[in-house]
Symmetry: C2
Subunit: 671 residues, 2 copies
Amino acid sequence: MDGSVGVGGRGPLDEERKGAEMDVDAVMALLAGSPEVVEKRRQIRRVIEADEVMSVDDYYFCDRTRRYERALEKTVRFVQLVRMHGWKDQDAIYARRCIREQLPVGLHWAMFIPCIKGQGTKEQQAKWLPLAETMQIVGTYAQTELGHGTFLRGLETTATYDPATESFILNSPTLTSTKWWPGSLGKTATHCVVMARLITKGRDYGTHAFIVQIRDLDTHRPLKGITVGDIGPKFGYDSMDNGFLRFDSVAIPRAHLLSRYAKVAVDGSYSKPLNTKLSYGTMIFVRSHMIMDAALHLKAATTIAVRYGAVRRQSLMDETDTTESKILDYTVQQETLFELLGAAFAFHFAGRILSDLYHRLQASLSSNDLSLLSYTHGTTSGLKAYCSTITSEGIEACRRCCGGHGYSKFSGLPDLYTDYVPACTYEGENVVMYLQCARYLLKMVAAIEQKDPVPSDLAYLGDRSLAAAARKLTSTHGVKNLDNLLLILRAIAVVRIMEAHGALISAQQRYATSGRAWNACAPVLMKAAQAHCRIMVFNYLLEGVRAAHLDDKTHGVLVSLTRFYGLRLASYDVVETDVLTRQAIANMKQAAEDERTVIRRNAVALVDAFDLSDFFLNSALGRADGRVYEALYEYAQKEPMNQHEVSPAVEQHLLPLMQTTRRIFGGQSKL
Amino acid sequence: MDGSVGVGGRGPLDEERKGAEMDVDAVMALLAGSPEVVEKRRQIRRVIEADEVMSVDDYYFCDRTRRYERALEKTVRFVQLVRMHGWKDQDAIYARRCIREQLPVGLHWAMFIPCIKGQGTKEQQAKWLPLAETMQIVGTYAQTELGHGTFLRGLETTATYDPATESFILNSPTLTSTKWWPGSLGKTATHCVVMARLITKGRDYGTHAFIVQIRDLDTHRPLKGITVGDIGPKFGYDSMDNGFLRFDSVAIPRAHLLSRYAKVAVDGSYSKPLNTKLSYGTMIFVRSHMIMDAALHLKAATTIAVRYGAVRRQSLMDETDTTESKILDYTVQQETLFELLGAAFAFHFAGRILSDLYHRLQASLSSNDLSLLSYTHGTTSGLKAYCSTITSEGIEACRRCCGGHGYSKFSGLPDLYTDYVPACTYEGENVVMYLQCARYLLKMVAAIEQKDPVPSDLAYLGDRSLAAAARKLTSTHGVKNLDNLLLILRAIAVVRIMEAHGALISAQQRYATSGRAWNACAPVLMKAAQAHCRIMVFNYLLEGVRAAHLDDKTHGVLVSLTRFYGLRLASYDVVETDVLTRQAIANMKQAAEDERTVIRRNAVALVDAFDLSDFFLNSALGRADGRVYEALYEYAQKEPMNQHEVSPAVEQHLLPLMQTTRRIFGGQSKL
Ligand SMILES: Cc1cc2nc3c(=O)[nH]c(=O)nc-3n(C[C@H](O)[C@H](O)[C@H](O)COP(=O)(O)OP(=O)(O)OC[C@H]3O[C@@H](n4cnc5c(N)ncnc54)[C@H](O)[C@@H]3O)c2cc1C
Ligand SMILES: Cc1cc2nc3c(=O)[nH]c(=O)nc-3n(C[C@H](O)[C@H](O)[C@H](O)COP(=O)(O)OP(=O)(O)OC[C@H]3O[C@@H](n4cnc5c(N)ncnc54)[C@H](O)[C@@H]3O)c2cc1C
């Protein structure tokens, strides 16, 4: 059986790699930060990938219970490896990411510890952080309830202060108040940060964060008054025990209210926080991580689809052709995949810049300067929604580009999608996020009208020369110039945002209340926010590529990708907003076609530069060596149903039916 | 624990049903065909749903092996029920559909039997059909190989005629020639229709269909020379044993070549088919079923999202509101869901009309009239791609409308998506299908240019008055008129199709070959095909609603839905194609807003009219009684991981880690 027949030689991707003009190592170093980081990461990766416990061989064949068990086993091994190798901070985070499995203690690191750091007093931190960091306890963050996710003020869990015992009594007064969804809650966590309504002296002060122990540390049994369990199977996240939790008069010490901002005295008197917005810092931190995560998922999906597209041959492009075309040579695939490649690079740089912004924000907040806050909040809510939407849809688009084999779990793409897509919902549902971004943009429009200062990124909203400048662009050369692409995206956004502004004013006349007017305009508001998001992501990519030190050829490839990406981003709204001449639009199409050719030659090299290992991708189609058919065949042999030549289910159910009928008709066993 | 708190009374959907002005029963009868059919179906449904074997209680908790086993058990029970109750044709099909599980013998009925009917001689039919219909054998259809799906001429399996033994010898000469994907093949089927290259007297005549036995009927063991198995886990289709198959010199009698069209004589001489297009009838049959299936899935998804949207309350629309809004009152949800509601109705009527068309086609083919063939083929390839794309994306959109709970498998939406989405890939990959439709449309343009006759549905392509008529529309009244909406959709399609025509001519000058020029234009060609598909689906809905006998109020609701749907369909391309004045476009938006209000009042009634049972939906969110929170809570208790208070995995892996650390630090069990 000769595996190479029909796929063009032993290393089907060799010819692609030889044909590329860019320096893969240089782009790899650019993305990682430096060649040293690339090397460091490879060392870490080798440790994880060589470890038997970390094996992904059984990944596609485990049911939920087993996936949870394996993930817990990996968690423990991970903690041991971190200790053994002394990995800190970025290195530990990178090591964690190599595992590519939702670890059931994920929320412990991502939410429980950060919450205590952000909202606990010095004393609380001193008590809880050592316990958490050494994993004597495992915590999670329980906010969402059956009845409320988006609308936090609607949460129903109560924490009523009892001065007699100096404790808070937690209750779940209704079915809908049941905590529902928190990760690590169902079976793993011993502790939670619980969001509950603080009630003292008969008054309800709204939701506050409390530390609550839910399981005994010796037996791991739920404590008295606690009902806790797993919420059942989901689209993805098989290894995560998203849970439910109910309280029946559970008492916790007064000191378990996280009291950095709000406090309750021994007698039950409440003192309110100085500024509730101070806790927003954490949110920006989480968002910057979410955008890096979007980039990572998009890198993985495009790596798989591009490599497979360069191996898979299907159909004769012309009847006279003697070999079938690589599917990556079909235009529809290129338009889809290369735009997503651009997005993967753009989100990569966006994540990095947001992380810098977070640090600047923390610095300014700690000196009580709130000026950055609304800008950061307003723009990152849009970015969160934009990047997660594009990434989810992008993964699915990559999957469909792989035809039938994309539907196999072995392609890696189904799990990539189901594990990523909830990012559209958690940490702020995307529609709600876009609308928050739109609200901020309209505030900026108002500020400009009133000649108030606005952040430099928003200054374009007041630039009256934009429209005329865009109209003047006509030549192909003009429209593909990178600065002009930014100008076009801005001209488009101005139209979209002013449309929203106008729609809202007109709706306010037709609707009884401002909330209803706002709701009526929601679709237009979303378009406004999306148009601004496109400027942001394009700009991040542009800055990232401009700042890169690369040889000319390599730089040229990244410039082509940036151009193509900008041209595609503009194509969404350029006609509807009418900012360019028809000639200019036609020239944009031509320019995009030109860049596509350059990207095509370098497509495999570009995804190679993402430096994702075969272990991480766990994909028969995305393998670095391109031996996709061999891999599909080998993976299939491991399917549990293939462990019996004759399926026991067939013996039990089908054979009796067939044989009874056959006996009646007197048939034979070989026909 | 009072489940009703927070959801507004005991029957949260009562108020919606009371507020509707339409007659649900009348629309139900319209969709089913008559009140009698509704009643008949309910009888059948009750039988299936009352049967213990058919229970869906364990559905969300089974791993693949168990899902396959359960599905096989259900299959056998289904066959028994059909015999017991004497269900025939439509009734049997309906009964089958009530089970809502991919049965592992699905391909036996859907492909194996139809293939023998369509391509077998009288004698072959007489031999095989009784065996198949009584289930003495179970067959499937094995076409796709590891290396080839779309490009059938590339299939590599060989069937070489040996006159000495009067048999064909089947071989899988390469790895890529391995049959891969056929449903029912892995573990269930005893026989296949295999597509293989017919080679006789040293000449290769291309792919032909052969009947091949693969497993012994007594032992169910694979026969000599056969390697067969399951291809492993997929995105969905858990209960289906999609399989692989390899041949090592497997001999089958000469009579096993399905010989209705092509024949091989005893001496090996080949006689070729009169007209290969005759077998296209089956393809149209399959497509009409696929479109009904699209309608069914979209009905299920919208039922779930609309009902949940009318129960779920989240956020205050205005700060002064005293109750939270139902999420179905948010505009973004309405725009998404009501368009999909329109599509569900449209696809329903489309499926029915296509099925009529199939019968007309069969009649004309049997009288050797091929005139309908290219029309049917050209348009249904587009429809197949359009309906399956909209349905897949629509199910996901419904899921996201449900926020976090949509991500739970208990919502029903994840499985609805993963089981439906391969319809975008099988029976003709969608990109390829759109391009075939575009090719047909351009042929019609050429025919019109040459003053050749074209089918009446395509006559609009030659209607020179369309553009002017569209331009004249301005008033709200004008743009929302149903005939005018059809006119607008046609005007848009003409622009798109002529754009494609022009692009192709210009590309033919720039590219060396016509295939490469075609490929360069593929994105524009797809837009042209989509624009034509929108006309078709709108027209099917329009005809369906116009032909309905309903009271005025009910009719009015369906007209509102049709209008809203038409306005939304037009909105996709109306600005880019520049067929209307800006004023007209603004009026379209206003008109859509008006219709949305009508649909909102009747949304729950409209989905009630789909008549999908709670058993079928198997959705905690889509329940007819609206008790979504109770259902989520109850479903979760059945999760296998909840059967242990303390997870064995935690005891084995996590507790030791926590306790070791705690011992070192001297901690306590209650903090
Ligand atoms: C995999 C996963 C993991 C999670 N992990 C955690 C966790 O660890 N801890 C935790 O506390 N929670 C967790 N959650 C819950 C998550 O945070 C919520 O699901 C999320 O906040 C969305 O809220 P919701 O589910 O209430 O959606 P809803 O608010 O009910 O949204 C439903 C629909 O209504 C619309 N809508 C709602 N409000 C408005 C409005 N004002 N305007 C317009 N439209 C509106 C939305 O657009 C959406 O389409 C998780 C969820 C998932 C899926
Ligand atoms: C769930 C499921 C069930 C199935 N059941 C069966 C079955 O019972 N029996 C059976 O025989 N098969 C079955 N199949 C296989 C199915 O028919 C094929 O997957 C399908 O025909 C697509 O072919 P492919 O996988 O080769 O995709 P490819 O042709 O490899 O497509 C890959 C990509 O290339 C692009 N492409 C390919 N050719 C062209 C072109 N000429 N122009 C532009 N773009 C192009 C496509 O758009 C696609 O994006 C099943 C598949 C699935 C997923």
